[in-house]
Symmetry: C2
Subunit: 199 residues, 2 copies
């Protein structure tokens, strides 16, 4: 019944390192050895704390999923008007994408390998709330009328794609890392202008 005080929990250290390698560096099939090395621990500890490699992967995956969900929830269920919520989300997303640019892509590949989404319940509550607010703004004439799902897709696409596909886009479109950062920063305003009608 200890819990080691000397340094940060080894278990957490392994998780953090794995997360960085997966979502930060995009090295989705890093070996347990590589993760252990990066964390500066013995590889066997991965088995000690997480039975198997698969288990570590799932744990890290689910943690990230949960965290992202919570952050989104706290924005969507705040009392601010929709427009501000969307700006908040843009800030949050572009910020976290600096640390973990590959998170969504990883989720897609996982999703595809039979890893189902966990919390349908709360996700659909979140979507319902969001769709409702969108519909209201459409009635007020602040947003072009369309199915709320389409608005949602527009919003997410414009926000996430440049971040998720950054390596590809940066390479093919011929940007320097700095240049691309500036491009992303500029996008906040451009996205808002696309989503909402001018006043």
């Amino acid at each position: 019944m200890s819990a080691k005080i000397t340094e940060l929990d080894t278990e957490q250290l392994i998780k953090d390192t794995a997360r960085r390698i997966f979502f930060g560096e995009g090295r989705f099939n890093a070996t347990t050895q590589e993760i252990a090395d990066a964390a500066g621990v013995n590889r066997t500890l991965i088995n000690y704390y997480f039975r198997s490699r698969d288990n570590l992967f799932n744990t890290v995956f689910e943690d990230a999923q949960k965290q992202e969900h919570e952050r989104t929830e706290s924005i969507v269920f705040s009392t601010k008007p929709l427009k501000e919520k969307i700006m908040d989300y843009l800030d949050l997303y572009f910020e976290q994408s600096k640390e973990f640019p590959y998170l969504e892509i990883y989720m897609v590949t996982q999703m595809n390998q039979g890893c189902a989404y966990k919390d349908h319940e709360s996700m659909s509550r979140l979507l319902d709330k969001f769709y409702l607010e969108i519909a209201v703004e459409m009635d007020k004439g602040n947003i072009t009328k369309m199915r709320p799902e389409q608005f949602m897709l527009n919003f997410i696409s414009l926000t996430c794609f440049p971040v998720s596909m950054r390596p590809l886009l940066q390479e093919t479109m011929g940007f320097t890392p700095d240049g691309f950062d500036r491009l992303i920063e500029e996008r906040k305003q451009i996205i808002m202008d696309l989503l909402f009608k001018p006043e």
Copy 2:
């Protein structure tokens, strides 16, 4: 000096199968055994025709890159007006995405693992041409003024993201496969309306 007439070239069959597994099913770390099985050939043939697994992967990757590039080129360098080019691209993209939804994601992960983009030369010619046409339309007042790169990003994001992230979106947003197909089909018009000002 034969070239086997009985059935399609084995070499091509392997390539096609690998392509389907990578880009069609998103199983990016399929083993050579799995690919051979899917193609209905002996695994050793992969080594016979493509020396190594890596070599097969690269070949398939470069072929796809080249093919996509050619198709894009033929649209961008056609004589049609910009608006029609963009509609053509939407059609092309949504069509091919039915067969290979994971192509872009695969490229991103590859890109990240040190696989550089090949044909910078012709890509930048293509982009220049495109940017020029966009600028002209902006002057005419048909497109909201912004950096052409941003317009490009908007266009690609709106088009590619829903396709690339389909497994994730479908799952989290609670769509049936058919429902999502309809959503995608509806998007063509929605994207056009977002990109161009109403006449």
